[in-house]
């Protein structure tokens, strides 16, 4: 027999009224950054139990990509973490390139690194804007959006789209930069550090900000590792794990940058880590721009890169001339993408973004699985919120920097 719901028969105000007060937060709550629903059990203003319910933004991207060719499926990855779509595209392309065994030209690698770091800055700016707005700093929100607009304008010049860029392609990138874009980026990298100083002037030592962030959602290094946190959320606890350093991809080997880490692992430390990351990203863009002049005029697509229009099924083998029958098509069919499975992870702005792609030899992926940082981070909310109040929940959601498009996929 199916379990039935227990009906609370005791009236409110009864001395034996002990049931917890249940509150639904979201999915339309403005500070859940999308459609996250939290099921809260409260004792006064203290949270007794927090239970995230996800799936409101599920579009079945993994399954959809099984019915598309590899190039078509790349467009879907734009919609994972829609704030930093360039980083998602790069991760997917790296996975397919590993399957194909392609060597990406140096210029394309530099260009990819630049757009990845631009995505990081733009994502962190949006994070800072919304996080500050949730906690109560309106001015920072406006300043961050002003600067993010600048980056989006550069994206528009690079590839013709502001948000869903689809800029990389399997084996390189789709377009080269023009001199105008390079000048714009130079100007941006020149001015941006002073903008970060502006935000810090507003909130870094502001007593309201400190009271809302210091000592909130403290997580020890060991616990953070066990929960599977990655990215700035993990580095805030003092673990210097960064995929860009441990398994360098693209052009991260040839650029110099530091991995900022926090000490105490509270919300304030994670904020500091992200601010420092923006400075480092700015530095990486600058170094890549300097190196671009060395590779002037090189192609941006690898030699054996597949055409955008990939065949859906295995290709027929090459026709061999035959003395009597003219031409003969014989032998095993040639796979479009070699059979096998591959896992590639990159350091996306939110954390470690992994792609697991299985190929059966045809032009369509047999399976694509996305290891999304937001999904793991949402599972850590109940752990982080222990012993805090409802108002701190806003800070916790903000500090983990979750995007539901990536979590629900």
């Amino acid at each position: 027999m199916a379990p039935t719901l227990e009906v609370i028969s005791k009236p409110c105000g009864h001395p034996e009224w002990e049931e917890p007060f249940v509150v639904n937060m979201g999915p339309q709550h403005p500070s859940t950054h999308g459609v996250l629903r939290l099921y809260l059990e409260l004792d006064g203003e203290n949270i007794v139990k927090c239970d995230p319910r996800i799936g409101y933004l599920h579009r079945g991207l993994e399954k959809l990509s099984e019915n598309m060719t590899y190039t078509q499926a790349m467009v879907l990855t734009d919609r994972l973490d829609y704030i930093s779509s360039a980083a998602n595209n790069v991760g997917y392309c790296l996975a397919v390139e590993k399957l194909l065994g392609l060597e990406v030209p140096r210029r394309a690698r530099l260009l990819r690194t630049i757009v990845c770091e631009m995505a990081r800055i733009s994502s962190h700016l949006l994070w800072l804007a919304t996080h500050a707005l949730d906690i109560g700093a309106m001015t920072v929100f406006l300043y961050c959006f002003r600067d993010r607009e600048w980056l989006l304008d550069i994206y528009e010049k690079i590839c013709g789209a502001r948000l869903t860029v689809s800029y990389p392609r399997i084996g390189g990138v789709r377009l080269d930069f023009t001199t105008e874009i390079i000048e714009d980026l130079y100007q941006f990298t020149e001015e941006f550090p002073s903008r970060i100083t502006d935000y810090e002037t507003l909130i870094d030592v502001n007593r309201i900000w400190l009271k809302r962030t210091k000592g909130i959602a403290v997580i020890s290094a060991e616990k953070a590792v066990n929960l599977g946190l990655t990215g700035p959320s993990l580095r805030g606890s003092g673990v210097p794990y960064d995929v860009r350093k441990y398994k360098p991809y693209d052009a991260y080997e040839e650029v110099e940058f530091e991995v900022p880490v926090g000490k105490s692992g509270d919300t304030y430390d994670r904020y500091r880590v992200r601010m420092e990351e923006m400075r480092q990203a700015n530095r990486i863009i600058r170094q890549c721009l300097d190196k671009l002049s060395e590779t002037q005029g090189e192609p941006v697509v690898a030699e054996g890169a597949p055409d955008l229009l990939m065949p859906e099924k295995r290709k027929k083998p090459q026709a061999v001339p035959h003395p009597k029958k003219g031409f003969l098509v014989k032998g095993a069919e040639v796979p479009v993408v070699p059979e096998g499975e591959v896992y590639v992870s990159i350091e996306a702005p939110k954390g470690e973004l992994g792609y697991y792609v299985v190929s059966d030899g045809s032009g369509k992926p047999w399976r694509v699985r996305v290891r999304a940082p937001s999904f793991v981070h949402i599972s850590a909310i109940p752990e982080l919120i222990k012993g805090h109040m409802v108002a701190d929940l806003i800070a916790v959601i903000g500090t983990l920097d979750v995007v539901l498009g990536e979590c629900d996929r």
């Binding site: 499926a73 467009v75 789209a161 377009l175 080269d176 007593r207 192609p299």
Partner: protein, 178 residues
Amino acid sequence: MGVFKTLFLTEIAKGLALTLRKLFSPPVTVQYPEERKPVAPGFRGRHALVRDPETGKDRCIGCLRCAKVCPSRCIYIETERDPETKRKVVTKYEIEALRCVYCGYCEEVCPVNAIVLTEFYEYIGYSREELYFDKERLLKNWDEFIITQKRPYFNPYWKPRGVPEKMLPAPKRKAEGV
């Protein structure tokens, strides 16, 4: 925090000084309907079929490459053979703009540069049918767009910068502006 800082709210004063400074800097807001930001060349906006200035018709040869590469499968093409000249004639070319994801793959694979995503982005419709572009509508889109442009117009995706020439189909290599 020292006693002085606590008493005199120095950090608040610093923040207010910054916002006061910004008050006198030029505004960054664009008053949208009155003023518009310039659109970057190659912006992926409303679809159009290029009207060939010589023949006055579209350039499409009905190779179906755009329909095959489209991730959202929103391009419908029908072709038939002309019994006299034995040439392929495109009888139907339709784009369902509401399904399009604006990735720009179609204009990149088109061997004759017949289709283009124009830099025009302000288009609306009261019903689905209004955003279901047929061939005449697509040619009209082009006419509306090209009068706002400097001639010859050349879209960056027609011949992507930095892509080696041997990867492009032959007509794309010697592509010229319209």
